[in-house]
Symmetry: C2
Subunit: 247 residues, 2 copies
DNA sequence: TCGAATTTGTGCGTATGTATC
DNA sequence: GGATACATACGCACAAATTCG
C-alpha cells in the first residue's frame, strides 16, 4: 500500500486529463500550488510533473507555466496493399491526400551489412549494401525519418542502384524494383515503439522522451528480401492506418 | 550549448546501450560511481538514471544495482488478411504458432456509445452498444488487454449478441458476424502509441511509464462498421507484424 | 520601458527506509 | 549483521523565461 506521494499526484492529474476535466491547453497548478495543495515539498511536485511530461501528458514553458499537451494535428500514414502500385512516391500521395506538401531529403552510401540487417535481408554479415537515410517533410516540417538497406547483389550495375538518382528517383521501392525486372509480392511491416533517441530527436525537432513507432519494413520478391527499412514515426505527429481486406 | 549535466550522462549511457557496448543485463555504474565519474552530486546521477528508466532502457533493483533492461521474449501478433478466415480465435492461433497457450478472460455489458465510439461505429451518441473487455493471456501471463464495442442494432436478438456466450463464443469477430449473415469485407487498424495508464498497468502487471501500442480496429460489412475495438499492446511483450500483399 | 513577481529547470546536500548481497 | 544500493522526500539556491502592473 501507500504509494509514493509523487505517483499519487501524477495519478490525480493523469486521471483528470484522460477523462477531460483538464482539457488540452489548460494550465495545471504550479509546483508551489501543488506542493501546498498536497502538503509536500516542491521537489515532490516537480517529480510528479516531470513524470507526466515524460509520458507526454504535460508540457512546460519556463516562466509561463505547465499545460496539458495539445496534440498537434495528427497526420495519417496509410499502409495498405492497394496504394503500393501507384506511380510516384507513396509518401507524397499520402500527404497530398491530406492537403500537405510532402517532400524528402536523402543521402545514400554503400556499406556492409550489420548482423541485424544481414538477418533481415537474408544475406551474409558484411555483404555490401546500399544504405539510404531519409528525412520526410510535410510543409517543410520534419515529420519522420527512415533508413533503407538494399543488397548490392540485387541492384549493382542497374539504373536504380542509387535510390534517389536517375530516371526512377523518388518512385518508391516497388516501382524501382519493377524497373529492373523484379516483382515485389509482399511487404512485411513489424511495428514496435520505443523512446526517441537523441539523434532522432534532433532530426525531428522532438523533445527527449518522446515516443516513436518503428516500422521494420521488408519487401520480398520471389521469396527473397530485396529491401528493408526502419521507419521512425513520432506518435505525436503521425498515426498509422492499416487497411486490411477480409478474405 | 552546455546541456544540463544529467542529460549528458543519460545520453552517454543511452548511446552505449543502443550500440551494444552495454548489453541487456549488464550492470551500469551505481549512482555514487556515476557521480564521482562525472564530478557531480549523486542527485544528478539519480536524475539521469531515472530518465533512462522512464524510457525503458534501464531497470533498477534496490540493493542490487541498475541494469540494462532485458527485453522479455517478444511475441509477435500477426495482422494479415489471410489469417482472418480461420475458424477459432486468431489470438489463440497466433500463440499456438509460437508454442504458447493462448487464453483470455472477458466480460460483456450493454452500455451507450460515447462520442468517440459513436464516431467510430457511425451511430448516434448514446445509442446502445455491447461493450466487452478482454484480458489476453499467454501461458497464464497477462499479455494484452482490449475493449470491443458492437452496435446492439446489429446483434440484438441474435445468437452472437454476447460475444463470449453461445455456440460462437471465442471464434472472432469475422466468424460471428458471418453466423448472423453479415460479411465483413474490411478491417482498418489505426496504430498509435502512448504511455500506459494506471489501470492498464495493473491489469498487465506493467510498470508505470511503460509504452503501449494502441490498435483502433474497426470491422466493416457492406460499408457499415459492425465492430470496433481498442487493443492495448505493451511494446516490451509484443510486436505487431503486418503482412501486406503487393498488388 | 522597466522592474517585480512568478514559474520552470537544474543542481546540491541531507535524511530515512528498505532491499540485496 | 554490516556494507552497499536504490527510492523517496525535504529544503534550499540560482538562472532564465515569462507575465503583468
Amino acid at each position: 500500500m501507500s504509494q509514493p506521494v509523487y505517483l499519487r499526484i501524477a495519478d490525480d492529474l493523469r486521471r483528470q486529463i484522460v477523462d477531460g476535466r483538464l482539457a488540452p491547453g489548460d494550465r495545471v497548478p504550479s509546483r508551489h500550488e501543488l506542493a501546498r495543495e498536497y502538503e509536500v515539498s516542491d521537489r515532490v511536485a516537480v517529480e510528479a510533473v516531470r513524470l507526466l511530461s515524460a509520458e507526454g501528458y504535460l508540457e512546460s514553458r519556463p516562466g509561463a507555466g505547465t499545460f496539458v499537451r495539445t496534440r498537434p494535428t495528427v497526420r495519417r500514414l496509410t499502409r495498405s496493399w492497394y496504394r503500393e502500385d501507384r506511380a510516384g512516391s507513396p509518401f507524397a500521395a499520402d500527404m497530398e491526400a491530406q492537403g500537405r506538401a510532402g517532400s524528402w531529403r536523402s543521402s545514400s552510401e554503400t556499406t556492409t551489412a550489420t548482423p541485424a540487417i544481414a538477418g533481415r535481408l537474408e544475406i551474409a554479415e558484411g555483404d555490401p549494401v546500399m544504405r539510404t537515410r531519409y528525412v520526410y517533410l510535410a510543409d517543410d516540417e520534419p515529420l519522420m525519418v527512415s533508413t533503407s538497406w538494399e543488397p548490392l547483389a540485387v541492384t549493382r550495375g542497374t539504373p536504380v542502384m542509387f535510390p534517389e538518382e536517375g530516371p526512377h528517383a523518388g518512385t518508391g521501392v516497388v516501382a524501382r524494383m519493377r524497373a529492373i525486372g523484379l516483382q515485389p509480392t509482399q511487404a512485411t511491416e513489424v511495428v514496435t515503439a520505443r523512446a526517441i533517441l537523441a539523434g532522432e530527436a534532433e532530426s525531428l525537432s522532438s523533445r527527449i522522451g518522446a515516443v516513436v513507432m518503428v516500422i521494420q519494413r521488408t519487401y520480398r520478391s520471389g521469396g527473397r528480401p530485396v529491401e528493408t527499412a526502419d521507419i521512425v514515426v513520432p506518435v505525436d505527429r503521425l498515426e498509422l492506418a492499416y487497411e486490411i481486406p477480409v478474405s
